[in-house]
Symmetry: C2
Subunit: 714 residues, 2 copies
Amino acid sequence: MTASRLARFFAPRSIALVGAADTSGWAQNIMLSSQTVGFSGPLIPVHPRHKEVFGQPAIPSLRQLDGPVDLAFVLAPQHAVADVLDDAAAAGVRNAVILASGYREVGDAGRDLQDRLIAHAVKHDITLLGPNCLGYVNAHARCAPFGFIVPPPLTAGPVGIVLQSGALATDVLAFARAHAIGVSVLASMGNEAMITTTDVIEYLIDDPATKVISLFLEEISSPGEFSRAAGRAAAAGKPIVALKAGASPAGQAAALAHTGSVTGDDAVVGAELRRLGVIRVTSLEELLATAALLGHARHPRGRRMGVLTTSGGACDIIADRSAAAGIEVPEFAPQTIAAIQPLLPPFASARNPLDVTGYTLAHRRTSALTPIDHALDAAASDPGLDFILFGGIRLPDARPANEGLAGLIEERLDWLAGRIASAPVPVIPVNATCVDISRYAREQLTCRGINVLPSIGLGICALQNALWWVENAGRAAAGRSQPAPAQPLLPAPASAPDGPWSELAARQFLAAAGVPLVPAELATSAEEAAGAAVRLGLPVALKVCSAQITHKSDLGGVELGLGSPAEVREAYRRVRAAGDAIPGAQVDGVLVTAMRGGGLELLAGVTMDPTFGPVLTVGLGGLWVEILRDISLRVLPVDPAEVKRMLNELRGAALLHGSRGRPRADLDRLAAVVCALGDAAVSLGSSLRALEVNPLWVSGGRVEALDALVVTGS
Amino acid sequence: MTASRLARFFAPRSIALVGAADTSGWAQNIMLSSQTVGFSGPLIPVHPRHKEVFGQPAIPSLRQLDGPVDLAFVLAPQHAVADVLDDAAAAGVRNAVILASGYREVGDAGRDLQDRLIAHAVKHDITLLGPNCLGYVNAHARCAPFGFIVPPPLTAGPVGIVLQSGALATDVLAFARAHAIGVSVLASMGNEAMITTTDVIEYLIDDPATKVISLFLEEISSPGEFSRAAGRAAAAGKPIVALKAGASPAGQAAALAHTGSVTGDDAVVGAELRRLGVIRVTSLEELLATAALLGHARHPRGRRMGVLTTSGGACDIIADRSAAAGIEVPEFAPQTIAAIQPLLPPFASARNPLDVTGYTLAHRRTSALTPIDHALDAAASDPGLDFILFGGIRLPDARPANEGLAGLIEERLDWLAGRIASAPVPVIPVNATCVDISRYAREQLTCRGINVLPSIGLGICALQNALWWVENAGRAAAGRSQPAPAQPLLPAPASAPDGPWSELAARQFLAAAGVPLVPAELATSAEEAAGAAVRLGLPVALKVCSAQITHKSDLGGVELGLGSPAEVREAYRRVRAAGDAIPGAQVDGVLVTAMRGGGLELLAGVTMDPTFGPVLTVGLGGLWVEILRDISLRVLPVDPAEVKRMLNELRGAALLHGSRGRPRADLDRLAAVVCALGDAAVSLGSSLRALEVNPLWVSGGRVEALDALVVTGS
């Protein structure tokens, strides 16, 4: 799907509506939507039986076109679609949107139909969006081959929107209208039989009108392509914001390894989006507010925010929300305070966040600028602030009848637009509560290029997202060009059974991969165990060693802290007996291992995600993982720097940094070991089902795997 | 402040505007707001110099009134207010709103002025709202002595609103208008010099038009009164929803005890609101959406939600948000599926959450009801559902020009209003994204008593809040009548110094209060220590005992796990020396205590909150508190049942319930001990600064304080 082909697809100057009839809501919506965006090209109804549709003459087939149209919107029922494509090809039509359902989404029979549809389109060299899709809107190209309602007016602007659920489009566009958020292209993807979500992202990266890309995703079907597109977007400086919905059922390999039980697929998606520098949001409003901020406003360079409002309550709410979002509201500089104080009533004080108070609004207006505007000039020059959140735009529902007053309002907006464009730091207007801006406000603001964040809550949320993007996009862009690390050359494992390996085999495999393990010996008698214990140094742990026994401790197959040879001998007999009692278990012996104390225990494991492949999980051992689910995930491969970021994401990270007199863990060494473990897992290829070290012990610079589990399968 | 007096205050039939002038924005707003709510009584301008205000004849003083008005809105500047009150008294005016600022909010001088103002009002038997306040709006009584803009139209309804920041009013009312949320009274509280927030809450509890009370709070100045009002509201079945902003600086006693460093005042507020059954929210939109749901809709009886939408994407988002909010979306019953399936296109399936698909909207409408309406009938009868979230109301921006279509839409709304009123379970309409409803929609919905939740996000949030209230309000109402427990009769502590007690004194105090302590003896020589260790059972811990040394372990004043008399003797010398090395410390000796292992360690402590008094904190010991801040708080006193709830609120509560083979803690025993500790703290009265047991050890039914800290002061 080449860029030029998609650019033509998304900017038709003539459209045929195949299957349009007066009774079709879809066709009616296309007519209305086209009117809303100001489509000026021909919109030609095509219907085998109707002579007239919506009062326009209709032709019976695309073959009757005078010349080719740029795009056919195919409303025809499924059984007629193939013939319509034949007609299109005959008429020289190269682009089509297919509305009909009943393809891949209904199962195997539909999938066959879809495959045949695509083969047909490819044969005719037709570029196709859908099937089972509503089409798209391109506000800049002023076309809307789109089967749902586009609430008028639509503001053309920087936000590209890709929806894997097209039925959301009207609600998304209604919110965009409510806040005059400028849209470039909105596309409903349907079944993505030919043009995929990633294709549209790539197109929007190249589209000069689009500055930010917002996605509603139900699935990421080609993670590799998605990852490349995200990298290109980051390199192009175009943020991607995604609402990814729906967690799919946990992978089947999860049950055996503990990692699996805490690694939901959704968490993998979250980790991967974070790694790619994609902003993840949880509502459509947050999606659009974030995109609007990134698309319309200058990007803040840091987290120090100046706040100007007309209400103490708004200051309180902004302060609380900012603190929760990690946005700072520092004191104003002395010269800022000196400049602002004279603007305020005597009972108010010039501090950040600033409440200029309702009193400043209470007198009949005689000049364009109000005290909050002068405060803006002062705050925007404050050297200690990175951006200004400006709560001072409050426009009436309609243009005042009083021409003088209307003139003052509009003169002020001219001034404000100039300040927003030229202020030393970004000035970001915000509305207090999430209500629609009026038609008057939309007209006045849009023509001056001013966009107002929808509400304090959404505004702070959007700022938090934008700041995260500013801080992380560079890395995401850099990460893109990084080649996947070469797979380590490991000795082929002695056996790669369908199922879990014995701990001994797992230990040997990890050791070969460069993962340090706690010293251990396999004993097959009580005497051997006692001898090993003395060689390893008392106290020791004993663990039954068998590929068939994975939950050893639940079965009495583990004993810890054995302090004398006599204790070891007795423990050997109990542990061995516990293993021998398991039906069908082949017991290799009993593993005698040194004990480790002090330090910290972690979990490091790899599971297979059905979409993304091998996924690394790290967490602090024991309760941190079991009760708090305090883990960090990444799709493999990773490098040691990324593992360090994973470790620092943990809520318990302070433990690694040496809290309360505990020794600081050597994160470089730890990250190197975890990386080696990840590479070992990757080297098992598609036979990997799970690999886990739990606990992975660290004390200062010493790192050792105290246990090892490997599960493979076909 | 009697109920009847407030009822008269909030429903005046005639109002004087004292100090009104054509140039006053405040006065203009009162005129406009009065018009918006349909005030029909006289609105009399009073001004010493202007003969005419807003085209109406003005009188020079209240003394020139023909007869008393019900309320005077005093716009006069501060220096004139006392005279205006004299005039009001002379004219028989008994109620006044005072706009002027410059009182308590500006410091001590203002506080004096305010005290004199109130004395003046009391002398004249005038009920007064303010000063420094904007007044109020009463939508049912159709009056609006209110100095800010009330965006028209205002829908009268069940939601009472009390704002400690009046300047938020316009934004709050704009959101209410946007979603046709019905308002009863909105009051701006100002300085609360006479009528307090609690007074207005009490009035709204008695006001038959108010069904739910929403608050914007900057402070809770009288926690006792607030608590009583909350209890009365709960007993009356009127939910309170509060946005409490602004965390005040941590109390000064906090630094000495560890509890203090993790107990912010804001967390205390949160705990107290939870205990009182008050819903706490974080945005104005959530405040109003929650209040609207509780005021307009029937209350759900459980958490099992049926979902009906026209979009798969909306289903995805609702499913994700519900899961996060603890709201269940169970399978439909077989008969529900059987009833719904025939309504859907063949490619769609009848499952909860239900997407009837855009296809059901695509054909020209010929009957009032659409497939989603029939699905509603089926789902509302499903025995496995507690309520229905209905995403099927989608009204056009304006009444369709086509009368037939408009008739169908309105016929459907009649049907829907009937179903909402009569369905077996509550039916709760929801909008997809947070956009204003149109004027047409407002008119059509309001006249039928239908309210639509503003958006999926706010809707799920409001439902989560409402369900919490339904589940907790009964307890809050019951808790209200519970008398504070009698203070335990404790022996007066041997010494109640200004500062920390020695651990020995703290132990004796707690023991007398019924808190079990780990056995210990005070030793003053190495030999005594060794002897004590043998009596207590080895291994033991040694701790230097001195009122002046509070962070013992940081100074080498603690040694643990001493396994032999020889070790104890050596440790004694080190610990003692560490204590003796502290300048100014009077060392009583060294405390020898038994060691406890296995089991769990908790923290239980009491600090003094400047607003609420003694506050109990419980948490799991060590890292849980230090790194995770995993604590639960309550204002004292508490009973053992409340302590059990506190323990179960902890994220680590699973540990207490015996996770991974650990013995289950006896929560009854543990709660009784914590309760005794709380009562001991309360018995110290206002001299208490901190009391803490850390760790409090529990193993099955054994509970022991392993350490004890008491700090008192004047």
